[in-house]
Symmetry: C2
Subunit: 351 residues, 2 copies
DNA sequence: TTGTAGGCGTTATCAG
DNA sequence: CTGATAACGCCTACAA
């Protein structure tokens, strides 16, 4: 296939493989003449060094792996873009892997990347268990291998690696204060899966924000989704049929919000009139919706940059600055301020 | 780091490295006893084989590279998802690279992947020149290396590798017929960049569809965008200010359509009333728009599947069926059927 | 400045 | 079925 090796280059250039290698790796101990001849030979043969063989001896590969939860979720593709551009600026190639919200797919990718000796990994970890999620045994093995690794967006509560996460409490405070000032009292929450730390964080911040605003928390107003479109659709139906008739709902990510909005449209439920909706993640689909949906958004660009910086610090064995990203809340009056008086729910009429 | 090698495993298991290797690679020429002991040793040591070294000897790596143009474009992330799932079903790991619509980034990724000896590549090629785009010299080198490769979505007119592309003529015929039957006569086109073959194909199909419907083609009604959001915004302003006052516009991809819609919203131009819009790519943002935008969509799932199949055929050196995917057209009446009588344009009133 | 001679971790070959 | 041995492509002492 690409059978041309450094020996071929050396032969054509009339030098030894060692000299050719030195030229190729920029070793100063080379004569200008040797350099010229080797470079000519490389050009002539179209030689591309075999990274496998190279990193068998040396160790740096100038590449990192990035594992995201779901390529099709704009939240993660924005993150991927940010990571990729910052890594590139630092001279690192990024290989993107898609876990598809599945820990087995995560494990395959990470194991393959580890065995291919990337210089480090930036991972949105796929958890298994309760609460913030717990590591798979493969994840533990990979962490034990001591490859430089940072978590981004999510964490695992039983693994101690540097992590870049966002904090949504302030934004939820604002959102709920806005809803309350418009008369909303029963606010539902469509949350994420137990294995994702972000789901837990958002859920807790939601409860805390209710309390901070003097509203009662109620487990019955919490729907456990899985961050994917289909569960948002389920949540939408659950919301409409809820016996407590909540007048507003906060949805913990964009795919679920989109799933929910599609259901509501089908059922002719009037978002923003019958009830109010606030969703995490500022994506085009939510802004284009009629009426536009209020959103709580993280700064993915900053998150990606921070993740790359943190990883570089680990690779260089420096101290990493402990970073915390705070989400911001964007209120779109047409939606979040819809008073519950208009709500079908509060009148007991439901599709 | 992961210093445990197959020799350690062999030592613990009390067999030779060769035997350990056979067990690990599923070679049938192994005794049950050897298998058991090796597996126990692997478990005990947490051994992970070094893929670098492995593929230095063998050649298969059970992995492929996928290069897409833009991770943040839902069109490509859907494609990535499809490719990844089908490759996974075929036992192949997928490494995703983001060209970011930039041929230099493409070249870096492909060169790195080639040197890491993936088994094959599925590429949305980034062209350079005129028309369907022309290959970079790195692309040529990579093709010359004879690594199994297929193009998907786009092609390069000076490179002959199997390619999976879509054909939009029928869909555009339908769209323009629908527009015409609603009285539209001057239809604008916001197209893609010259280096993308899809841009050329869609532009030609647009002209052909006009002719097929007995409408004149007019270069003045064509705006050259670049498939990214910002150029869609430019196109939107161009459209509103156009001296010929077209009453409908077809936009060649979703990011440009979204950019355009945002501008029109800001300027209070009434999409679907003042003028009609049809856009390529069925993405949530276009469906959520008020009113929903008519879309022309390809089946990305089928495209991804076909690309994986074609690549597998190349890898196995089989004949690949020359595949051609036809795009499907979804007409959403509320928009595409808006009669031009309502158009601000035809009345000469423009924001 | 250059060449020679190992060796990185694995698998293919060949003899037993 | 197993074990020794060589080789994959490259890099790096070490010696010249």
């Amino acid at each position: 296939m690409n059978a041309v090796t450094i020996k071929d280059v050396a032969r054509i250039a009339g030098v030894s493989p060692a000299t050719a290698s030195r030229v190729l790796s920029g070793n100063p101990a080379t004569s200008p003449e040797a350099r010229a001849r080797v470079e000519a030979a490389v050009e002539e043969l179209g030689f591309l060094p075999n990274a496998q063989a190279r990193s068998l001896r040396s160790t740096k590969t100038d590449s990192i792996a990035l594992l995201i939860s779901d390529v099709r979720n704009p939240y993660f593709s924005d993150l991927a873009h940010a990571v990729e551009q910052h890594a590139r600026a630092a001279g690192l190639m990024t290989f993107i892997g898609n876990a598809n919200e599945d820990s087995a797919q995560q494990d395959d990718f990470l194991a393959t990347m580890l065995s291919r000796r990337v210089d480090g990994m930036i991972v949105v970890p796929q958890g298994l268990g309760e609460q913030a999620g717990t590591a798979t045994s493969m994840m533990r093995r990979i962490v034990d291998s001591e490859i430089p690794m940072v978590f981004v967006d999510r964490t695992l509560h039983d693994i101690a690696v540097p992590n870049i996460t966002a904090q949504s409490r302030e934004a939820l405070n604002e959102a709920i204060a806005a809803l309350k000032s418009n008369g909303h009292r029963r606010i539902a929450f469509i949350g994420g899966p137990k294995h994702a730390s972000t789901a837990l964080e958002r859920h807790r911040a939601f409860d805390a924000a209710l309390e901070a605003n003097g509203l009662p928390t109620d487990a019955a107003l919490h729907f456990a989704g899985d961050f994917r479109t289909a569960s948002g659709a389920d949540g939408a139906r659950w919301f409409l049929a809820h016996p407590l008739a909540p007048s507003a709902v906060i949805i913990a990510d964009a795919p679920m919000a989109i799933g929910a909005l599609k259901v509501w449209r089908e059922l002719r439920a009037k978002v923003g009139t019958d009830f109010s909706v606030v969703a995490f993640d500022e994506v085009d689909a939510l802004l284009m919706h009629d009426p536009p949906i209020a959103t709580i958004s993280h700064n993915l660009e900053a998150m990606g940059r921070a993740a790359v910086q943190a990883l570089l610090a680990v690779i260089r064995q420096e101290e990493a600055d402990p970073l915390e990203l705070v989400s911001s809340f964007t209120l779109r009056p047409s939606v979040a301020t819809a008073p519950p008086e208009n709500a079908v729910h509060t009148e007991g009429t439901r599709p």
